[in-house]
Symmetry: C2
Subunit: 202 residues, 2 copies
C-alpha cells in the first residue's frame, strides 16, 4: 500500500503502470441527446480492450446564496430515475460559451436571479467510468430576483431552504443527486470557514 | 418560489406539474459496456419528446476505516477523463447480487481487506440527467488485510490517507470524483457526530 501524502497535492507520481493509450476511436451512437464513442485502447500490460463513454460538453452548477442565508434550489423530474429530485441549479455549456457565462445564464434562465458577486469553487466529475462530463461549481451572492426563462419542454420548480434544512435532507436520503451533495460539501466548509472562496464582481 | 420546508422530508408534494410519462421505449445501443435506451415520453404540458439514458445495474462505494484512523483509497486511470483519479473503492452489482454482498466483494477484490463491521450510510445518483445508476454508500471498519484479486484488465493502486489529508485534496481540486466527494460529506459528518450510522457485524 502506497502512502501518497509524501507526494503532496502537486502529485509528482509515476502513472505509467496505470495509464491507458488510445489506439483508435469510433462514434457508435449519435442520439437526439447522447453521443457515445468507443475507443480501442492499450492497457498497462499492453493488451487491448475497448472503452465506451458519453461525450459531454461540460456543465455548471450554482450555489446561490440569498441575503437571508437561504440557498436557491430546484425540483425537477429526472426521467432515468422516474423521480422528482432536489438540486442546485445547473446546466450544460452552450457551444463557445465560457463556464462563467454559462453559470450566469443558467441561474437567470432557470431561477430568474442575477447575482452581484460570483466565486468559482471547484469542479466535479459525475461519472468517471463512462462520461467526459465535468461540472464547474460556482457560488453566487447579492441576488436580485427576476423572471424565469425556461426552455421549451423544460419544467422545474424553484424554492429555497436554509443550509441546515438542506443538510438534514442530505442525511435523510431525500437529496441523492451527486452534484448537489458535492455542493453541500463545499457549502458547509465555506460556511464553517474551513474552505475559502475568491469572490469577483459580475 | 415555493418553500418546501413545511412539506418535510416525507414530502407530501403534488408533482403532476413536473412528471413525465413513458409512451414507448427502445434499446438504441448494446455496446461492450454501455447499454442505451431511448424512451418517448409525454411532458407535463402533454407534448411528446424523447429521453435517452444509460441503463446501469447500480453500484456500491465503500468508505473503509483503518484502525489508525486512515481511510482506504484507490488511484485508477479513468479513460473518459484521461487521468488517474483518487477514489473510494467502488464497483458494479453483479446480476442477482445484493448491495451488501457487492460491498464486501468489491472491498476484498480491489483492496484485499475484509471488515468486521459494516454500516449502510445512504445512496447517491451520479448522473441524473442520463443514467439510471445509483451508488449505495457503505462504511466498513475492523479491517483485516489480505490479497487483492483484481479482474483481468483491471489496474489500480491502493493507498491510505487521513480524513484531513483527503479533505485537503477535495478543497484543492485534486479529488474531483463525485462519489468520493459525496463520501467525504458522509465521512466528515460521521466523524463530527452530526450524522450517525447503524453498524452491523458482517
Amino acid at each position: 500500500m502506497t502512502n501518497l501524502s509524501d507526494a503532496g497535492v502537486s502529485g509528482a507520481v509515476d502513472d505509467s503502470h496505470l495509464a491507458e493509450k488510445k489506439l483508435s476511436s469510433d462514434e457508435i451512437l449519435v442520439g437526439n441527446f447522447l453521443q457515445i464513442r468507443r475507443d480501442t485502447v492499450s492497457l498497462p500490460d499492453c493488451r487491448h480492450t475497448t472503452r465506451e463513454y458519453v461525450v459531454h460538453p461540460g456543465a455548471v452548477m450554482i450555489v446561490a446564496l440569498l441575503d437571508d442565508g437561504q440557498v436557491v434550489l430546484e425540483r425537477q423530474y429526472r426521467y432515468p430515475l422516474h423521480a422528482v429530485m432536489i438540486e442546485f441549479p445547473a446546466g450544460k455549456l452552450d457551444a463557445g460559451e465560457s463556464s462563467f457565462e454559462c453559470a450566469r445564464r443558467e441561474l437567470r434562465e432557470e431561477t430568474g436571479y442575477t447575482a452581484r458577486e460570483w466565486a468559482k469553487a471547484g469542479v466535479l466529475h459525475p461519472a468517471i467510468a463512462y462520461s467526459t462530463e465535468f461540472i464547474d461549481i460556482w457560488f453566487a451572492r447579492g441576488l436580485t430576483p427576476g423572471e424565469q426563462q425556461l426552455d421549451s419542454g423544460e419544467f422545474l420548480e424553484v424554492f429555497s431552504a436554509t443550509p441546515e434544512e438542506l443538510m438534514k435532507w442530505c442525511a435523510s436520503g431525500w437529496v441523492t443527486d451527486a452534484k448537489t451533495l458535492t455542493g453541500m460539501l463545499w457549502l458547509s466548509n465555506m460556511l464553517s470557514g474551513a474552505w475559502t472562496l475568491e469572490w469577483q464582481t459580475a
